[in-house]
């Protein structure tokens, strides 16, 4: 039970879809209870810790993540992030800015779901990963690099952080861990990520708890344990004559 008035944010003990909200809460120094549910080990990967509580919390749509804010109980990671954003005045100063923030949040969410589809892939993982890293991800990164260049601000919408920045940083950081590439073609994105890591209110959390937490659940082919970015040197990247033909990934409708 939380102390009166304290937020409770419930999720697996991973970064997944809730880390943007955790980052926002740490940045704003908002006290909250980080309720963590552990996934059991192989071979069962038991979700009992969550399943036994799932229907006892009074959630209308029992799911992870959830947020309890007084008598308001929310699920859906983006609804949670935007609610916290509104509470902490990080959803823009005008209606146009709010919509830009929501668009960026939704856009980054699409990328994180694409990443999930790769990371949890049991069959053909290497081929699917290759397609993601060589096609899907560059398309997204180029759009963000162009966006940051076009608007020419420190953060996505201006010189102040907004909810969109917590979402974007986290989700491209997860892609960074899978990608093992230099991203030198996206200098503006690299600068953005470097500056985010230096935000004083977040440095300690990012270097500590955040880094030690896996990005995905234990059943994932990639990211089920905490990983570090390991950059391949460009000169070592030689064509592999035995590479599997990448499986085609359907474009979004």
């Amino acid at each position: 039970m939380s102390s009166k008035g304290e937020l409770i944010l419930g999720y697996w003990d991973i970064r997944g879809f809730v880390e943007p909200s955790r980052l926002l809460l740490h940045y704003t120094k908002t006290p909250f209870q980080n309720k963590l549910y552990r996934i059991g080990d192989a071979p069962d990967y038991s979700r009992e810790e969550w399943l036994k509580e799932k229907s006892t919390l009074g959630l209308d749509f029992p799911n992870l993540p959830y947020l309890i804010d007084g008598d308001l109980k929310l699920s859906q990671s983006k609804a949670i992030l935007c609610h916290l954003g509104r509470k902490c005045n990080l959803m823009g100063k005008t209606e146009h800015e709010t919509s830009m923030i929501e668009q960026l949040i939704d856009q980054a969410d699409d990328l994180r779901r694409d990443l999930n589809n790769v990371c949890y892939r049991a069959i053909n993982f290497e081929a699917v990963k290759k397609t993601f890293c060589e096609t899907t991800l560059p398309t997204h990164l180029k759009m963000y690099d162009d966006f940051l260049t076009k608007h020419g601000k420190k953060w996505l919408l201006g010189d102040q952080l907004t909810a969109a920045d917590f979402q974007l940083f986290e989700y491209i950081d997860c892609c960074w861990l899978l990608s093992n590439d230099t991203w030198e073609e996206y200098p503006r994105v690299l600068k953005y990520m470097k500056e985010f890591r230096e935000v004083p209110e977040l440095k300690k959390y990012l270097d500590g708890e955040h880094e030690k937490r896996p990005i995905n659940g234990k059943t994932a082919k990639f990211g089920g344990a905490a990983v570090k970015h390991e950059e391949k040197k460009k000169e070592e990247k030689k064509p592999d004559t035995n590479e599997t033909e990448a499986a085609p990934i359907e474009e979004k409708k």
Partner: protein, 241 residues
């Protein structure tokens, strides 16, 4: 380059909503626009026929519209250009005061919008890329995911006890919830019979005076999904209005 109608619409200060000539993910926004009697231009993109199902009508314009994240649907409103269906719906809702009266209402509306979007995405999976075959996937979807979600929405409506899903006034959540539940019911209209609150909600929505005509005409004549879909790529006759 936009077509001449879009350019005309833009010069009149009219909104333009660009999407495939299907209901898909843009229909909640169309419903909201019709409800608020907002003049707007529907910029339709038509997928080609079998066997190629060409999307060139869209791809040929995709990078020329000045969108930061080129995608369908998109919305032009003056110099505002947006993508992402939920962002567009919420933008329009804020413009026409349909996003709740306070922070708490807005949060619940956002949650309902996201929750019903998840359901529509699952339906898309069944209609476009069944894991086994369509008939098997359809049955499984109805018996598991759809049943589970309809029960949650039913209990939510019952608990909230308001005229509409989130309040006594219609909100963005209602356009989204109606359209996406109705999309699922195209698989089997009788599914809704078990859920009295949802059934009432759907009935009341269809009786909204500002929407009656649109729902019976244009909306009813628009396919649910794109031509390439295994289900819903052509107009499906309804049992009931």
């Amino acid at each position: 380059m936009c077509n001449i109608y879009t350019l005309m619409a833009q010069s009149k200060g009219q909104l333009t909503l660009g999407y495939w000539a299907i209901r898909g993910l843009a229909e909640p926004s169309r419903l909201l626009l019709h409800y608020t009697k907002t003049p707007y231009n529907d910029e339709f993109y038509v997928q080609g026929d079998a066997p190629e199902y060409s999307r060139d009508e869209w791809f040929s314009k995709k990078s020329k519209l000045g969108l930061d994240f080129p995608n369908l649907p998109y919305l032009f409103d003056g110099d505002i250009k947006l993508t992402q269906s939920k962002t567009i719906l919420c933008y329009l809702a804020r413009k026409y005061h349909l996003m709740g009266k306070n922070e708490r209402e807005e949060a619940v509306i956002s949650m309902i919008i996201d929750q019903s979007h998840d359901l529509r995405s699952e339906l898309n999976g069944v209609c476009y890329h069944p894991k086994e075959d369509f008939a098997t996937d359809k049955q499984q979807f109805i018996e598991t995911k759809l049943t589970e979600q309809l029960k949650l929405f039913e209990d939510f409506l019952k608990k909230t006890g308001k005229k509409w899903s989130c309040s006594d006034d219609i909100t963005a959540a209602d356009f989204q919830l109606f359209e996406y539940i109705d999309s699922c019911l195209m698989l089997d209209e009788s599914i809704i019979d078990k859920y009295s609150h949802l059934k009432n909600f759907m009935k009341h929505f269809r009786e909204i005076p500002e929407l009656e005509n649109y729902l019976k005409q244009e909306h009813a004549q628009r396919p649910l999904n794109n031509k390439v879909a295994i289900f819903g790529g052509t107009v499906i006759p309804r049992n009931k209005a």
